[in-house]
Symmetry: C2
Subunit: 174 residues, 2 copies
Amino acid sequence: MNGTRRIASSLDEMDLAILERVEDDFDVSLETLAEELDLSKSAVHYRLNKLKDNGVIRSVTADVDPLAFGLEMVAITDVSVTHETGYSEDIGEELIARQGVEQVYYTMGDVDFVVISRVQTRDQLNDLIDRIVAIDGVNETSSKFVMQEFENNRTIAANITDAARESILGMSTD
Amino acid sequence: MNGTRRIASSLDEMDLAILERVEDDFDVSLETLAEELDLSKSAVHYRLNKLKDNGVIRSVTADVDPLAFGLEMVAITDVSVTHETGYSEDIGEELIARQGVEQVYYTMGDVDFVVISRVQTRDQLNDLIDRIVAIDGVNETSSKFVMQEFENNRTIAANITDAARESILGMSTD
DNA sequence: AATGAAATCGACCAGCA
DNA sequence: TGCTGGTCGATTTCATT
């Protein structure tokens, strides 16, 4: 029951190296990976499959550029709700189901939800906020525009703290 | 110079259908895709390549489960800076470079940056906040814990508003 | 857990509508 | 420009260690 209880099975440094590579770019060939890691192609393939089976790799996905869709406007909206207990899960599901909403966080604090959404125009944002306010239980919203985004490509394996890395490599097999 | 100016080239409904599918799961075989879309394997492949060349598909990536790394704690940190102008880009780069930080948004409003980070323990979060405060120009921070996340798998194509969809399909070729 | 060989699937090309 | 069908190369699978 410590901070690492859900780790699927022991990951070694080779697994981390593979993850750091494919989390950023899965289009790399098995041959290139095998050379970089000094392993046979089959061994790399075997480890990738194991990582998928273990759920460490949840899925392989295409990363679509929102700008290619004209989605140039990002907003962060704080949402407070009326009944604070019990309904939060339902309201979270309602929020994430709204077209244009990308991420929803339920937080401790004076605002209950932080909602990040992406749209084309200010009109679309106004419309989205109307659709948020229409959700039963939503009390008040307050939005701010994002001027600039700094992103990470979601490369979790390459982005963990040193302490977290130690903790992962120290795990033994289930 | 309208809201859709950066759209790479005209996308049709077939492209959108392909994107909706592969943005969620790129592990689907060409054959399955071809059957689902009533197209030949080569045609699907041709369109996928075009979408990559156009930059609509930025990359293909492995989606790693943060819980598999014991990263159970998410925090949203508001960061205000001392010199409001000029240095914002530098500070944003500094923030995103910190281990544990996933996303950074530079906003209009009383807080300047919204930082979303993911760590294993409260100690690691404290350490991360120390590393944020140490950045030159950072004035004040205020963090809240995330109790629950609602996520979208970042499926942009399946998540655009109807208005945005109309706007995209209505485009003509450059 | 890793290997090499055999079967399957995806990438690429020339040509066509 | 978008698509087809075929070839080649890469990936997946499997028996074996």
